[in-house]
């Protein structure tokens, strides 16, 4: 297993404001797979993703990525872990406003010694003609593509996406999903996608449903539907 989470628990606050967000999550994802994490708002999806990304700590349990126990890493080792292994895609792109598309991608190219070919990536993501534009001059979908490119440039082994299509319309969302699919195939990137879009579950290898901090459903798809055929 590339990702192994074992009985992770996570709570926020103390006393009156105490909430147990993750109540013992155990699962495993194989390398190269796309996994969708679904569930109602507030169920703990983002929290789970963040703990796997080393952005948030857990109270107990273990998270092993590529056999590294990341819950035991100190902040410095964590950022090294993220630097070497991870790519992040957020709902609100979080691009550097005063850098162009190309530069935004180069910001992350800097983080690795073995980046992907930038022009090829721009081509794949359909950003070649936009590469000199600033984020504010792009549509939401284009911005998200830029964010994806930024996350992919360093060829991460694990791509974490928190509602990557949350701010996009139907058409743009589908394009993004098709890209994700394409990249997974091309680079073999393992992907965790937190989403509200239930249609996505048909195109991924694995589906984990969370409810109230616990896994309510966890299954693998045997047949994957191409993203281009998804409807919602």
């Amino acid at each position: 297993m590339f990702i192994e989470v074992n009985d992770i628990k996570k709570s926020y606050g103390e006393g009156g404001s105490y909430v147990q967000v993750l109540k013992g999550i155990t699962s495993g994802i194989k390398k190269g797979q796309i996994c969708a994490i679904l569930g109602p708002s507030g169920s703990g999806k983002s929290t789970l993703l963040n703990t796997i990304g080393g952005l948030d700590t857990i109270d107990s349990g273990s998270i092993k990525i590529n056999n590294i126990e990341i819950s035991k890493l100190n902040p410095k080792e964590l950022s090294l872990y993220r630097r070497n292994l991870l790519g992040f895609i957020f709902q609100f792109y979080n691009l550097v406003p005063n850098l162009t598309v190309k530069e935004n991608i180069q910001v992350c190219e800097y983080l690795t010694k073995t980046p992907l070919d930038l022009n090829e990536l721009l081509e794949i993501l359909g950003l070649t003609e936009h590469q000199k534009k600033f984020p504010s001059q792009l549509s939401g979908g284009q911005q998200q593509r830029c964010a994806i490119a930024r996350a992919l440039i360093k060829n991460p082994e694990l791509l974490l996406c928190d509602e990557p299509t949350g701010a996009l319309d139907y058409q743009a969302s589908r394009e993004i999903l098709m890209l994700i699919e394409k990249i997974n195939k091309k680079y073999g990137t393992t992907m965790l996608i937190v989403t509200h879009n239930t249609a996505i579950k048909e195109m991924v290898h694995r589906v984990i449903k969370i409810k109230d901090g616990q896994i309510s459903e966890d299954y693998a798809n045997t047949v994957l539907k191409p993203a281009s055929q998804l409807e919602w």
Partner: protein
């Protein structure tokens, strides 16, 4: 790092902000570096010139010029001296020109044009004087009704501050200056002029100290007959007259005795020839009577002379006691008891003192024996005289019996015997006494002034030094503020991009990389600005130094680049910015990535205070204020600094203008004549005053400063305070009180540097007297204290000009002159005041604009939202700019009194080299002007910001996400 590409764009987007900050840095560094730099240039120039032209270590003046031998003697001791005699003579336009002869070794002339005067009828002028009178080399000038060819223009190192008297507050370069002629010309001038100042400059070599030199000068013998000054000669004559009277009396006495002898022999003859006839007897008695009468008439002079001597001796004894610190006054009657008393109290503890006292007593005893002998003698003369009268009567009554004649002859014989035996003894005694005891110690030395205490030499450098220190301190304060403001802006940027930063962190960026990135812009701005500012500062030195160059007299300067100033101007701002930005940005970037991603801001606890009692607008404003507490606090400090500067500017203005008007109002007399040689009888329309110049320790500089003690009497029409109280009670001027920090009841010590004597006084009251540094006391007490005679005076105060021989006058101070000097100080300060006020307003406006703009920028989203809700511009202005008003109002209310407190404390140090005590004062008018400036600045910033507010579009709320 590709991320750094955003720096350039960030700079472009916020060019107003960074431009304004850079401007502030460049502007303040430009001012500070040019101020400090010009000080260094002045110091460098003066030091170089002093070395080149052999600046004196000090100077002294004497009544009688030193002899060649004495100068050699001093040289052997280690003091090279050069005569710098001078005469003050009238030049064009009522000016006074102090003329010296050319110098050889010490204080040599630095020519700026032309050559030295080397023939009669030629002169070299001080450069400012030449300029003010429009005289160039080759032209001529009329001095003392004689035309001189100006052969050169230059400066002398001992007159870099060209003041006539060392205690003058300011120089008047048009009215007084110096000139140099060749030796022949100077000797001609000396021949014409009675009032020559025999001044010498010295340089010390080896281990000789100034104090040792001074002591040597006090002890130097000098030839009293060579006193050239007629007024000094008068004084010496009076003293010598006592001596002459005494020996004259003795001679008369001898004459009288001779006549008496003649008379007695005639008498003998007469008695022998009694039978020969009454006629010859009668003539004999007449002759005798004449002789005795003459003798008797000499008695009074004799006794008077003896008494004069005795008083002189007693005065010397009192002086000695005072030097020894014994607080007593002896008289002719009590000296024996007093001295015995001392001997008893010392009781062997100090054998030297006991033996000195014993010697003293023996001397006084021997004198008393002489006095007693003299009295015996005069008694003898008198009884002889009365005998002769009796004889005369007897002769007349010759016919009445020979018994009477026998009696008369016997009485006469007795008197004669007594007289004869006393006579030889007496003459010896008197002569011995004169030789031994009447050798009056005339001290030739009049003044002794070390270069370090000579404001003609020091004030240029100290003047510049004060400006420099003030500027350097202000500079550090402003730089710190700017560095902090920059960091506030950087924080705003970081806050704005916090999600992006969170994203970068989650991609694996580490803090070090981001910290470095965010530091670059502020550091580049600060570095560039400080390089430019320092460069500008060095370029402005020429401008800055103008005033100094125009006032002080020194040769042309060369710009120097002192390393410390480069450190100050470049390294210091960079270090401050590095430190402040590092701390603030590092702190900001230490947030966890998740928090950054969520834009979680640490809400200040204050932001949650309960405000439910307030109406909406005020509540909103206060919330906004609290939300932006950091910006507001920064603004407070910025405005505080600006207001501090403003108060400083107005205080300089206020105190100097108060000084000008107080000088005019406090001084009631119109003329003050300080006399070198007071005349026997003062003009009846003038008020007699006794003036002494002493020095007091000045805590502000750690050095000393001259104060003038004036003895006045109760009838003095120019002062209206009572003079009663203890003998050492003094009344000090507020100027003195301010300068030295004296208060009523304080014991103060002033010293006479010439005699190395200390005097203790008690401050009884402080009165208003702005001009100079004056201390007043009862003239009787003062005469006693300084051992002067009953009616001694050396100063005259008057309403109108007095007709006094010029040679007697040391200085004339007129109120007009004082006020003019004060006014000149005002003009000199004016430029500085304007600069400071201008800088403060700039600082105020820029700080306020940038911070308010930043706060508005941060609230763009909510402002846009509020606009969407339907609030109109007026209401929005109220909500967002109202908070600024709170901060400005609060800053003003706190900063004005606080600044005044600070300036009051600091101001005395800034004027510590001015010989007048000035308080930092601000008129109510200045207060109002200041408030008006603040309100005006606030209004203009408000105007600029509200234009900016208008520009915030409704679409903002749709574009941004918060």
């Amino acid at each position: 790092m590709i991320l750094n590409k955003r720096i350039n764009r960030e700079l472009k987007e916020n060019w107003v902000r960074y431009g304004a900050l850079a401007f502030l840095i460049i502007f303040s560094l430009g001012l500070v570096v040019s101020m400090a730099g010009s000080t260094d240039v002045v110091n460098y120039t003066i030091d170089k010139n002093n070395e080149k032209n052999q600046l004196e270590d000090g100077e002294f003046s004497v009544y009688v010029p030193l002899t060649e031998n004495q100068q050699q003697e001093l040289k052997k001791m280690g003091a090279r001296t050069e005569a710098t005699f001078y005469v003050d003579i009238p030049g064009p336009e009522k000016s006074v020109l102090r003329v010296f002869k050319n110098r050889n070794d010490i204080n040599t002339i630095e020519l700026e044009a032309g050559r030295l005067a080397d023939q009669t009828g030629q002169i070299v002028l001080e450069k400012h004087y030449a300029e003010k009178h429009g005289i160039r080399v080759g032209q001529s000038i009329e001095v003392n009704q004689k035309n001189y060819l100006v052969t050169g223009i230059g400066t002398a190192p001992d007159y870099s501050n060209v003041v006539q008297n060392v205690s003058d507050v300011l120089a008047d370069l048009k009215q007084f200056s110096i000139g140099f002629v060749d030796e022949t010309e100077f000797n001609q001038l000396l021949a014409d002029n009675l009032n020559v100042d025999y001044n010498y400059s010295y340089q010390l070599e080896g281990n000789l100290t100034a104090l040792e030199l001074k002591e040597k000068l006090v002890d130097l013998e000098f030839d009293k007959t060579r006193v050239a000054n007629k007024y000094m000669q008068e004084i010496i004559d009076t003293i010598e007259k006592g001596k002459n009277d005494l020996s004259g009396g003795v001679n008369k006495l001898a004459d009288g005795t001779q006549e008496l002898a003649n008379g007695t022999s005639s008498l003998k003859q007469g008695t022998n020839e009694l039978a020969d006839g009454a006629g010859s007897l009668a003539s004999g008695t007449d002759q005798l009577s004449d002789g005795l009468e003459e003798l008797t008439s000499a008695n009074a002079t004799l006794n008077q002379a003896a008494d004069d001597v005795f008083q002189g001796m007693i005065a010397q004894v009192n002086g000695t006691f005072e030097n020894m610190g014994m607080p007593v006054t002896v008289t002719g009657d009590n000296y024996s008891t007093v001295i015995d008393g001392f001997i008893k109290t010392l009781d062997g503890s100090d054998p030297n003192a006991v033996s000195a006292l014993t010697t003293l007593k023996t001397q006084l005893d021997s004198y008393r024996a002489f006095k007693d002998g003299l009295r015996d003698y005069t008694n003898g003369v008198e009884s002889a005289y009365s005998g002769s009268v009796e004889l005369s009567e007897g002769a007349n009554e010759l016919h009445q019996g020979s018994v009477a004649v026998v009696n008369g002859v016997n009485a006469l014989s007795n008197g004669s015997t007594e007289l004869n035996s006393g006579m030889g003894e007496l003459k010896n005694q008197v002569t011995n006494f004169i030789n031994e005891n009447m050798d009056y110690q005339y001290v030739n030395l009049i003044t002794f002034l070390e270069a370090d205490d000579n404001q003609r030499i020091t004030s240029c450098k100290s003047d510049a030094a004060i400006n420099k220190n003030a500027a350097l301190i202000a500079g550090v304060m402003i730089l710190t503020l700017i560095a902090y403001m920059i960091s506030v802006f950087v924080i705003q940027t970081i806050d704005k991009e916090s999600a992006v930063i969170g994203a970068l962190y989650s991609m694996g960026y580490v803090k070090k990389e981001l910290l470095r990135h965010f530091m670059i812009l502020p550091m580049v701005v600060v570095t560039a600005a400080s390089l430019l500012g320092t460069a500008l500062g060095f370029m402005l030195i020429d401008e800055n130094i103008k005033e100094n160059v125009a006032y002080y007299s020194y040769p042309g300067y060369t710009i120097v680049f002192p390393p410390y100033l480069l450190i100050y101007g470049i390294l210091l701002p960079i270090s401050i910015a590095l430190l402040v930005n590092y701390m603030v940005i590092n702190h900001k970037l230490s947030l966890e990535p998740l928090k950054l991603l969520r834009r979680e801001k640490k809400q200040h606890r204050l932001a949650n205070v309960d405000l439910k009692e307030m109406d909406f607008i005020n509540r909103y404003r206060i919330r906004q204020l609290l939300r932006e507490i950091r910006g507001n606090i920064t603004m407070f400090f910025g405005l505080f600094l600006a207001i501090l500067l403003m108060v400083f500017g107005f205080s300089i203005y206020g105190s100097v203008s108060a000084y000008v008007s107080n000088v005019a109002s406090d001084v009631a007399y119109n003329y003050l004549y300080l006399l070198k040689y007071p005349m026997e009888t003062a003009p009846s329309d003038a008020t007699k005053v006794y003036t002494e110049s002493l020095t007091a320790d000045l805590y502000l500089t750690g050095g000393e400063m001259d104060v003038t003690v004036q003895g006045i009497d109760d009838q003095n029409p120019y002062f209206d305070f009572p003079l009663d109280g203890e003998k050492n009670d003094v009344i000090i001027s507020d100027s003195v009180a301010n300068k030295f920090g004296y208060q009523v009841g304080d014991e103060i010590t002033l010293s006479d540097n010439l005699t190395d004597r200390n005097y203790n006084f008690r401050v009884k009251a402080v009165i208003n007297f702005a001009s100079g540094l004056y201390i007043f006391m009862d003239i009787k007490d003062m005469r006693e204290l300084f051992g002067q005679e009953e009616d001694y005076y050396n100063t005259l105060m008057s309403d109108q000009e007095l007709d006094i021989e010029a040679g007697r006058i040391a200085t004339v101070i007129t109120v007009d002159k004082m006020v003019a000097a004060a006014r000149q100080m005002f003009t000199m300060m004016y430029g500085l005041v304007i600069t400071i006020l201008g800088a403060s307003v700039l600082l105020f406006v820029i700080v306020m604009y940038l911070l308010v703009k930043m706060m508005i920028d941060k609230s763009t989203f909510s402002i846009s939202l509020i606009k969407v809700f339907g609030y109109n511009e007026r209401e929005i202005k109220k909500l967002y700019l109202g908070t600024t008003f709170y901060t400005v109002a609060f800053s003003t209310l706190v900063a004005i009194p606080l600044s005044k407190m600070i300036i009051n404390k600091v101001f005395p140090y800034m004027v510590s080299n001015v010989s007048a005590g000035m308080n930092a004062t601000m008129s109510l008018q200045s207060d109002l002007i200041m408030v008006a400036i603040i309100l005006g600045a606030y209004a203009s910033v408000n105007f600029m910001i509200s234009r900016h507010l208008k520009k915030i579009s409704l679409a903002e709320v749709l574009k941004t996400r918060e």
